[in-house]
């Protein structure tokens, strides 16, 4: 939802990042205000997932230039856990399996760490159990998933539901959902999307990284950005996603190149 004069939540400016010496993000700009839903689309290898990971603080990526302000704080100076505690949440494209750690234990530890940070009371295992079961109902998850090891042996769809369950528990200010729709069948997509929609408030924001327009039928974006070669080359409304679905990415790329040539000519003229 676009609200005039809504405060800026995250402001990414001139962001460049690389992994193993290979530049992935190249001068990327993005501004997200409270209450907004942004979709980031683009072909494979355009840097969408890298952007998600860099914002969450993945240590494998080196930020080589640019700034990221999150609610006025220098996000890039913060450790991954500090970002999480400040309200940044990354829904993983491939949620990690952690054998030996019970999902309930993991969820409670994470929840209580955040509660402590926010000056709220921590929940003991029994209280937490009641609390988390309510949230699981929203995602039509069986309580059996509490006793199993984190994501171990979960199907693709179950892992994604478990991600959204974490989002529901942690109530982030900014949720970055990296291809949350991949591997979901139609029913699971509907359930997960409904979960996300219920969590969207005028105070928070969501960045959806996705390949497919079908997710955006369920979670309607206010802005659609197209990434290519590490930067955003086009921004539009939700109708842009429909157009991409119909026409692919080549025309955006061609349009961007033409605009680039025009600018170069202007400069040299």
């Amino acid at each position: 939802m676009i609200t005039p004069n809504s405060p800026v939540l995250i402001d990414v400016h001139g962001l460049c990042a690389s992994i193993n010496g290979v530049d992935i993000l190249k001068d990327l700009d993005l501004t997200v205000r409270r209450g907004e839903v942004h979709a980031i689309m683009g072909p494979n290898g355009s840097g969408k997932s890298t952007l998600a990971k860099v914002l969450a603080g993945h240590t494998a990526y080196a930020v080589t230039a640019g700034t990221v302000q999150f609610e006025g704080q220098d996000l890039l100076a913060m450790a991954p856990e500090a970002r999480a505690l400040s309200g940044v949440f990354l829904g993983f494209q491939y949620p990690i399996e952690i054998p030996g750690v019970a999902n309930s234990q993991f969820l409670r530890l994470s929840y209580n760490t955040l509660q402590a940070q926010r000056g709220h009371e921590e929940l003991d295992p029994l209280e937490f159990d009641d609390f988390v079961r309510e949230k699981m109902k929203m995602l039509e998850m069986s309580p059996d998933f509490l006793d199993r090891s984190v994501n171990e042996g979960f199907s693709g769809g179950e892992k994604k539901r478990n991600e959204i369950l974490q989002m529901a528990l942690l109530e982030p200010r900014l949720a970055i959902l990296d291809e949350t729709d991949s591997g979901l069948d139609i029913d699971a997509l509907r359930i997960v999307s409904r979960g996300v929609n219920q969590l969207i408030t005028p105070d928070n924001a969501v960045i959806l990284v996705t390949h497919y327009q079908r997710l955006l039928n369920h979670i309607v974006p206010d802005f659609v950005h197209v990434m290519e070669a590490g930067r955003i080359i086009k921004t539009g409304g939700k109708e842009l996603a429909l157009e991409l679905e119909k026409r692919g990415y080549d025309w955006v790329s061609a349009e961007h190149e033409a605009a680039g040539r025009a600018r170069t000519q202007e400069v040299s003229a």
Binding site: A56, G57, H58, T59, A60, A79, P80, E81, R83, A84, L85, F89, L90, F92, P95, I96, I98, P99, G100, V101, F106, L109, S110, T113, L114, Q117, S149, Q166, L170
Partner: protein, 438 residues
């Protein structure tokens, strides 16, 4: 009282030094026990302490042991039940306690049901002399093992468990060996006879009430008759200065089932040698965990011998080494000629938490039959950076994430312990131990 040094040639060696000044035990009222001791004493005369040149000891240097002297403790100290509270297992109704190697009846609670015997050796001999004499010290796999011979040469007492034919003991039997005195040497012994079709769970537990160096030299002998089932949980939570050198020999009869979980948490230097011989159609699962920090060394050697056809063995051994600790695993699986249709799987998984820690793992397969299914494998790794990041992205600090992942790595083995109270104690201990890492 003669001295054990008399058994040795006059040259000074480490075994001789260890034996020096240790009185041989007073003659036993049972001729079989005396004969057993004499055989072991004779064997000791021909044995020497292993060195790094011995293949089986190439990663385990006993030099720190040789620098110290140890004395036997001849009477149990005046411990109270309250002293045992930290180690008490709520779900183990039957408990045998040995203090510095000496049986402590006042701290033990014995079995009195269904003909089950759980008691000290003298008491057991009064009623089961024939069976005990036949089995005590009888397992071939303990032969020419210097520490096993040392134990037998000084054999005084033993924890004896006899489960009669067809009897299933619901509650676990807890055998607790406590060291209370600095510089003590003790030779704890367990003898377990599970008769045909019986079922029992044994917890063999080594603890200390003091922090100084001491030497525990246990020997455990287990005989499972056909169709018997034993779950054997072995916990080495000795003091951090302790030396613990243990041997265990298990004979698994036809269609019998041996499940073992061994956990090594304590001692500066520990060694556990487990030998399992499987009869026809017998099964075993032999799992282990060594959780080490500082300058600890833990060495696990196992040999699973498929002596007969249709046997099944499973082994998962895990080591976690932090600081400058050393973990050693050598797991041999032997399939004898004729042991067709053997099904064996062995896995050694290891976690290195520090650049100064070391893990040496050596799974070995020796197959002399042609119709078998055998797999083995070993991995050594560090904590997975993606797993750490995942937990950090959920608000856990780097150290909390590493603690949780380390705990989880070890918990897979602890989970296999079917005694809830012990499982909880070890989980707590493991959380505390993994939490202290930088």
């Amino acid at each position: 009282m003669s001295s054990a040094t008399a058994l040795r040639p006059p040259t000074v060696d480490h075994l001789g030094t260890l034996l020096a000044g240790q009185p041989l035990p007073a003659p036993s009222p049972w001729p079989a026990v005396n004969a057993l001791r004499e055989r072991a004493q004779t064997a000791l005369g021909a044995l020497a302490m292993p060195t790094l040149r011995d293949e089986a000891w190439r990663f385990t240097d006993l030099a720190p042991l040789h620098r110290l002297t140890f004395q036997p403790v001849l009477s149990a100290g005046g411990l109270q039940a309250a002293d045992m509270a930290p180690f008490a297992l709520g779900d183990a109704a039957i408990r045998l306690v040995f203090i510095d190697g000496v049986y402590a009846p006042q701290l033990s609670s014995l079995a009195h049901e269904g003909g089950v015997v759980v008691t000290d050796l003298p008491t057991a001999m009064a009623t089961h002399a024939v069976a005990l004499e036949a089995q005590l010290g009888s397992q071939q796999t303990l032969g020419n093992n210097v520490f096993a011979a040392l134990s037998t040469a000084f054999l005084q007492d033993a924890a004896v468990v006899v489960v009669p034919r067809g009897v299933a003991l619901a509650a676990p039997v807890h055998v607790l060996f406590v060291t209370t005195q600095a510089g003590a040497i003790s030779h704890p012994r367990c003898l377990v006879l599970a008769e045909a079709g019986s079922r029992v769970t044994l917890v063999e537990d080594y603890v200390a009430l003091q922090d100084a160096a001491y030497l525990v030299n246990p020997v455990t002998e287990i005989v499972l008759a056909e169709r018997a089932q034993l779950t054997h949980v072995r916990v080495q939570r000795d003091g951090r200065q302790a030396f613990h050198i243990a041997n265990c020999a298990v004979s698994v009869g036809r269609s019998a089932n041996y499940q073992s979980v061994s956990v090594a948490l304590g001692a500066q230097l520990s060694r556990y040698h487990l030998s399992v011989v499987l009869g026809e159609g017998a099964e075993c699962a032999v799992d282990g965990l060594a959780l080490l920090a500082g300058s600890q060394l833990a060495d696990t050697h196992s040999c699973i011998d498929h002596a007969q056809p249709h046997g099944t063995s499973r082994q998962l051994h895990k080591c976690i080494a932090d600081g400058s600790a050393d973990a050693v695993f050598n797991g041999k699986v032997v399939v004898r000629p004729g042991a067709q249709r053997t099904d064996s799987a062995q896995s050694s998984r290891n976690l290195l938490l520090s650049g100064r820690a070391q893990i040496d793992t050596q799974p070995q397969l020796e197959i002399f039959a042609d119709d078998v299914k055998c797999t083995h494998g070993a991995t050594i790794g560090q904590l997975d950076a993606e797993e750490v990041f995942y937990l950090q992205s959920r608000g856990l600090s780097d150290s909390a994430a590493r603690q949780l992942l380390t705990y989880a790595f070890g918990a897979e083995i602890i989970e296999r312990i079917p005694v809830p109270s012990l499982k909880r104690q070890l989980q707590q201990r493991m959380l505390a131990q993994t939490g202290s890492q930088p």
